[in-house]
Amino acid sequence: MPKTRVGVFVCHCGNNIGGVVRVPEVVEYARTLPNVACVEDNLYTCSEEGLSSIREQIAEHGLNRVVVASCTPRTHEPLFREACEQAGLNKYLFEFVNIREHCSWVHMHDPAMATQKAKELVRMGVAKARFLEPQEEFESSVFPAALVIGGGVAGMTAALGLANQGIQVHLVERDQELGGLIREVRTLFPAGQATEEVLQPLAEQVRNHRQITVHLGSEVEDVGGFIGDFDVAVKADGQVNNLKVGAVIVATGAEELKPTGLYRYSELGNVVTQLEFEERFKRGADVPRDVVIINCVGARIPERTYCGRFCCTTAIKNAIWIKEREPEASVFVLHRDVMAYGVQIEESYRRAMELGVRFLRYDPENPPQILGDGRAEAVRVQHQLMGKEIVLPAELVVLTTPLVARDDNPRLSKMLKVPLGGEGFFLEAHLKLRPIEFSTDGVYVCGSARYPANIPESVSQAYASAAKASIPIREGVVRAEAITALCDERTCSACGNCVEVCPFGAVELQEGRFGRTAQVNPAQCKGCGCCVAACPSGAMQQSGFNDRQLLSMIGALAEEMTGGVGE
């Protein structure tokens, strides 16, 4: 092996670093460190001048490790890595030392301490750099097809989004018909148009699309593999059909809460949920004259803390529907707060009130009571403004309940190795920045599977997930940063700790040359290193963050204390 030759480049960053840290002192210090072959300071290492200097020094001094002490790897690492690569040095032989954000900028009034700290950070960086190893990025091909689970509005839209780009799509729907939950809905907010008018053309497009295979009456039985190469078993009528896809979109939706035990639901025939109400009148029942709608049933309570988001909208929509058909009807909406956000909903709220729908606020501590024997006849509620109880006649009581996560979400979550949140909905990778992705690559989510979403939200999420899923498929390959875990099979004793901790299912115990040992699939590994920390023997390691590298940094930091070089 050639001798380790480290080049250290200390950046002044104009005055940003040099104004506090005594850069020349750091440079002189760096020259004394083991294996350092060349040190220089640059006004701006990231400038073309700085970068070409890195390239030149690599050539001139035969550098095989490069350390830049400047700003943060989170913004500048790719740039310096590229410079190394241009000079023929594997980019993983580069190490970053942060002496700006973590030093000069935060110790502006203490140049002596800042300089001391910068020296030690450089010492730690050089210590790690000495043990860096060249890495190959793992590249794997992506099978040009996608699986969409769920044939509701979200799933159908996502399928079309992919198929219209020429990508083969398998759409798996559990029911015998496409459409999902909103098939049960009579009319859609806000225009009151019939659901069929929206649903039919969409389903038609999906059914007739050359690139889409619709699997009705089918369920996903098993999913193996990883981004680019998922093996999916789809079961229909006891028959298992095996599919290969490169990406998966979860669009399984949610279901309406059936509030058994609340407001005598399921005991009294004329106490129904909003969906049941819609279904009833879809079938042409007479419009009732006295209706009491109770909102927030089973929502925003200790057992289910979330807001259903569009239940208020549904209540307003249905209240208007009744009033428009039966202006003489008495319609009360008992609510905790009316969440009529945005433009259209607020307008409808106003219109409902103009039509004579009465909105009364109830106290969750003292909720409305259903009166009647054998059927609901009236609802008693404490009128908060009048400060007394009133009794509202009720021919029909409609309970507004939130959507809840589907029962089989845990099963799907295990299969796909993606997490669920506390309420049982699928949990996205990042609430704000990655709202329709999972941290497991190649798996995406849209619609109410994530949390209750209305149609426009489902559609835009479906577009987004289709766009995201199409990236790896169209690229044809996925490349992972070479910071993945690697098991030394000779010393692995297969205790299985790594398998347990891996959030991505990337580690498995397998029979190999050295018996049963842990093996990492680099295509699935995301490089968190949790398995390394859990491995008692040190057989599991992470490229770029292995024990030797990190321990050498600790040793370098503790140098004066132990009187010796760590490692």
Binding site: V106, I483, V501, I554, T562
Partner: protein, 155 residues
Amino acid sequence: MASESSDEGGNGYEPKILVFACNWCSYAGADLAGVSRLQMPANCRIIRVMCSGRVRPEFVVTALSKGLDGVLVLGCHPGECHYSEGNYFTRRRGLLLKNLLQFVGIEPERFQVRWVSASEGAKFADTVEQVTEQIRALGPNRPQGGMHSTEPGDR
């Protein structure tokens, strides 16, 4: 505590603290503190790891035994881990290790775990400040074998 009876403590004593920060939240939080020019004591040295779940307890034990005055592990808030679960392992490990170290008589301040998100530059600065002052108050770490921090000015 050691410093009270120690001639090495006193005014010039500067503790040396090792910080592990996860790339996605805490390291970014530290960057933000820098971008915001939040001033803080210069006693912490960060080792960047991809996830706080990478920090094996052996690192903490070794660092303290080699005489570093404190170890601070920073990760994303639970539920916000870039790898979705890594910091939950950090949390369990941290709880147990803290108790174990305390059980063998190591001051609990010398090993701490905190959650710092990418947007919490100020929390990062506060944490560094607090931890540094706590450890400064303890005085030099004296691991087995009597190693200790160097005298000020001796570096």
